[in-house]
């Protein structure tokens, strides 16, 4: 019985992991198109191109899997998996509804989630180094620099929530969540979401894959399925960062009739944030590399520290 339960939870998480990123990807196709006055995909699948990403997947599978002659073969082939799988593990720990509606409740869930998400970036570093290509290497280095800069404000913002809730467990944080946390943790939410975007290398923080400067960064040498896995990891990342922001700052499953419709609230918040990610991508141009670093160190980190102080002061005042 216990084994069956575990297997069910794993399968459910896997299904979410395989379906939702595609859903977000398709939404991005359509939303971006309409924001630019276009229609986007219209043919694949018949109805408004709903099967476009399935068709893309089939195309990627058919392509030849090329490994450059001078590449570090094993590392090169392993990199997409290292980049993609952490998001699957993170998804396992994210609570969807009240009363244990979660893949696996972990006591130090927040810690686990942030640590594992950092591993995903290692995959991109591996790809950049193993490709034996100067553009890949530059992309990898930019990824590393970005990770170093943005992990700090992200962790500080998350720490503020953990401090407010007095626990590191994600379901625990949601149990302690009150509506007034929304304004209270507002700065933290901004910092966390922005840093999350940067960690995903989503525009306007996509310097590591800036195609006009360094071709496609760490992914330059990839083709076929491995390249598709990198793309999938980007969309899985959007899902994870949106879900995490929803859990930590927007109250996850909290909402009217949370006992029955908690999962719906969680999904709504997640997809609203995913839409925001797409919206930001369409609206803003790419930052320059130095502007990116500047933004992290002189805007986000001080803001995160302010939030931390604010949380501490109010926490003490309430107590």
């Amino acid at each position: 019985m216990n084994l069956l339960d575990t297997v069910l939870r794993c399968v459910a998480t896997l299904v979410v992991f395989l379906v939702f990123p595609l859903l977000i990807g398709q939404t991005e196709h359509k939303v971006m198109a309409h924001m630019q006055g276009r229609l986007g995909p219209m043919y694949a699948g018949g109805f408004h191109g709903w099967a476009q990403l399935v068709a893309d997947g089939v195309k990627f599978v058919q392509k030849e899997d090329i490994v450059p002659a001078d590449a570090d073969r094993r590392v090169f082939q392993l990199a997409p998996a290292v980049s993609l799988l952490p998001y699957l593990f993170v998804l396992l720990a994210i609570p969807v509804g009240p009363d244990g509606f979660v893949g696996q409740a972990i006591d130090a869930g927040l810690f686990f989630v942030l640590a594992v998400m950092g591993v995903g970036v290692i995959g991109k570093l591996m790809a950049g180094w193993a490709s034996a290509n100067k553009f890949s290497l530059l992309g990898g280095l930019r990824t590393a620099a970005q990770l170093m800069s943005y992990e700090l404000p992200m962790v500080l913002a998350a720490a503020s929530v953990a401090m407010a809730a007095g626990t590191l467990s994600l379901p625990g944080i949601l149990d302690a969540w009150q509506w007034y946390w929304l304004p209270w943790q507002l700065i933290g939410a901004f910092v966390f979401f922005t840093a999350g975007l940067a960690e995903l290398q989503r525009p306007p923080f996509d310097m590591p894959v800036a195609d006009s400067e360094i071709i496609f960064g760490a992914y330059t040498e990839y083709t076929g399925l491995r390249f598709a896995l990198f793309l999938l990891s980007e969309y899985a990342g959007i899902l994870v960062v949106s879900a995490l922001t929803a859990v930590l700052f927007l109250g996850g499953w909290h909402g009217p009739m949370a006992d029955q419709l908690g999962w719906l609230w969680m999904l709504l918040k997640t997809f609203a944030l995913a839409f925001l990610v797409i919206w930001l991508r369409v609206t803003y141009p790419r930052l320059r590399e130095d502007q990116l670093m500047r933004f992290a160190w002189i805007v986000l980190i001080p803001l995160a520290l302010v939030q931390l102080a604010l949380t501490g002061i109010i926490k003490v005042a309430i107590a």
Binding site: R38, L39, V282
Partner: protein, 205 residues
Amino acid sequence: MSFPGAGLAKGLAVTLRTMTKKTVTAQYPDVQPVLPPRSRGVIALLEENCTVCMLCARECPDWCIYIDSHKETLPAAEPNARARTRNVLDRFAIDFSLCMYCGICIEVCPFDALFWSPEFEYAETDIHELTHEREKLREWMWTVPAPPALDPAAEEPKEIATARKAADKLAAAAAAAEAAAAVTTAETVESVGSVGSVEEKGDDA
């Protein structure tokens, strides 16, 4: 008044507004475009009107119109008249790989034999196939839209004015003849002269 970040908010507003507007994408092969009147798609030939005067071929800036013809002698209509000669069109072709769609040939044609057609789907895989012969050009004639209507207060076209004048004259003569006939039946005697005069009048018309 501007506050920090106003520009960023404005950018977001622009993209959101664009999303709610109708898209500008033309779904061409599925939906035919709505072309403006007098679109310059292709040049159609109404060969019945062509007299092989060669004006179009001579005026064409890039010499893309090919015309061949021969003369035919028509037998004299009356015993004492001369036999007439007539130009017969053998070939009329336009090379649309050279044509620059200036429309000068259509402007110069004195007999209304060339027209703009809005038809535009005649791409070929071989450049030689873009030279279209008279049959094809004649077929395109069916796609030529009717000429735009005249303004409400415009003067009549000359052809119609002439035809109407002739018709009016005929009608007037017929009416006069009828009136004269009525007079003759009423008076019965010594009316021959007057009827003759009416008939003369009718012949004039």
